[in-house]
Symmetry: C2
Subunit: 322 residues, 2 copies
């Protein structure tokens, strides 16, 4: 069976987009205004999409309400972005002014809280303790990851291992949760549910690795170019380069990362040092490895167009350019 994955994904994305548009966030125009600004800012909808595809890969006869549940993952994601913007003192997000710049830190924190509460409200309406358990476990991990990231943000001694622990909590946990909840909605066996959770876990790790890579290598990512660099964030490309660099290069790269008010020239030099020490190529290789594990987890599922679409999406996220 040859599946047109691109078309299938396009259709699912349209359904998700229309569920997002139809769903009333709040009765208060201000909450809606801030929420919609960040919700409709060009997000890729990866998390709701994974939830829907995971559910349909197990059971293609699911009610329309699946989409209303799937969007809770976009709400959770956007809630963390709002708080991140305040924490990072971001001026821009996806090429537009950040919410905090338009409405201030106060409203940004509180609307973030609101969207988080809204997501849990949608989840609790399912009256499914197992789903609630997965989601609250995940939100706890996520907030833990945010704190850990804050603490290790500029720690040049941070290990590959510690980096994985952070991105697991920060990114992979929610992506895995979206897949797992999708599987639970389809009401399938434990084996299939845990296969999809595992798929999401590896996909999520790869997703964040590629994100960290693109922060250096993409010119169109919509974020400020070299945002992580400007903030002195120690991400995987840096960690891997530091591990291989000569003592002198190491010292220089650390100096550049710790420097305040970095210039374009500083960025170019850091880029050169990371590239020379294979930070980028090795990051991509590690992401590839995660995608391989993700795909292996899918083998446990029966063949279907939706499983094909999950394979395709994994490949797409690995090779994306923004």
């Amino acid at each position: 069976m040859k599946v047109d994955c691109k078309l299938l994904l396009k259709e699912e994305l349209q359904l998700i987009e229309s569920a997002l548009k139809c769903h009333q966030i709040s009765q208060h125009p201000f909450i809606n205004e801030v929420s919609e600004y960040v919700l409709f800012a060009g997000g890729k909808r990866v998390r709701p999409l994974l939830c829907v595809l995971s559910a349909k890969a197990l059971n293609s006869f699911l009610p329309e309400s699946l989409y209303e549940v799937a969007i809770l993952f976009e709400y959770l994601h956007v809630a963390t972005l709002l708080h991140d913007d305040v924490v990072d003192e971001a001026e821009f997000r996806r090429g537009r002014r950040s919410a905090r710049r338009l409405w201030g830190n106060q409203a940004t924190i509180l609307v973030g809280d609101y969207l988080y509460a809204k997501a849990l409200r949608i989840a609790s309406a399912l009256k499914n303790p197992e789903i609630m358990e997965v989601i609250t476990r995940t939100t706890l991990l996520m907030s833990e990851g945010e704190v850990l990231q804050l603490l290790h943000l500029d720690d040049t001694e941070v290990s590959e291992e510690a980096y994985r622990e952070i991105i697991y909590r920060k990114t992979a946990a929610l992506i895995s949760c979206a897949c797992e909840v999708g599987a639970l909605l389809a009401g399938n066996s434990d084996r299939e549910v845990s296969s999809l959770a595992k798929f999401g876990y590896h996909l999520g790790l790869a997703f964040q690795m590629i994100d960290d890579l693109l922060d250096y290598t993409s010119l169109e990512t919509g974020k400020d170019l070299g945002k992580d660099f400007a903030e002195g964030k120690i991400t995987l490309p840096v960690i891997l380069a530091l591990n291989r660099a000569t003592p002198k290069e190491r010292e220089e790269l650390i100096y550049l990362l710790k420097k305040k008010n970095t210039t374009g020239e500083d960025f170019q030099r850091a880029y050169f040092l990371i590239d020379k020490n294979e930070g980028f190529i090795l990051t991509h290789k590690m992401a590839e490895e995660e995608i391989r594990h993700a795909k292996t987890a899918l083998k446990e599922l029966k063949d279907s167009p939706y499983r094909e679409a999950l394979y395709y999406l994994a490949e797409y996220l690995l090779n994306r350019r923004k």
Copy 2:
């Protein structure tokens, strides 16, 4: 039956305190450090106490684990305090330096998120969809209330009605939720559950009204004296005074509230204007009225030492001086 309510409350508070001390918040010392700083800063434990008393008023044979559940309401409360501190740019909280001043806004926001997630994690472990429904409904109302408060913070046209809507969401909803969840844990009839929810609702309104009153009249409240005044917050004493003031007094009071960098003299003058126009006495009367409604709701329950303690607590909260 003569019940020693004071002793009963003292014993229950000790059990709550030890549950708070024994419960591991996180495996990460930093999260524990920030959390414990705010958790053990002299809070009155009103919310866990109400949860425990509500449960025991319906069923005195409840497992020890009741206390582990009750503390989730303190976690939720403290999570909102942490975000409030950032939103209000507070320097002090309960007479000590605020968490944001010690650890910065970033950590304060993120540990607030963590405690919120932790509270929901405790709730979800009960695997009781009804309890989860009540809690997520409440957290949504709370975050809505915070946004509304931000929008109407300095609106001198705000009505008594709008004020009630805000304090319902901001304070009464969680207090009512603590009572309702206590009742649900005792596994009792809908009638009793809704009586206790109603009790908490009226008690919560009174609690916030008294809080707003004490912000003007207490010298020992532990907050900066006249914090609401300094921030230009329009609370019930002000609303009621503005309603009765002459046009000239109205103008002056509004001027004082909108003024930046207010002095002790400004505060004294505002106090005088509110007092002269019965803002304080009428606020207390309105709180009394709510406490009356709260007590009426308790009549639905069978007589017990715990019901007596709830009566006593309501009276105590109305007449507290800090």
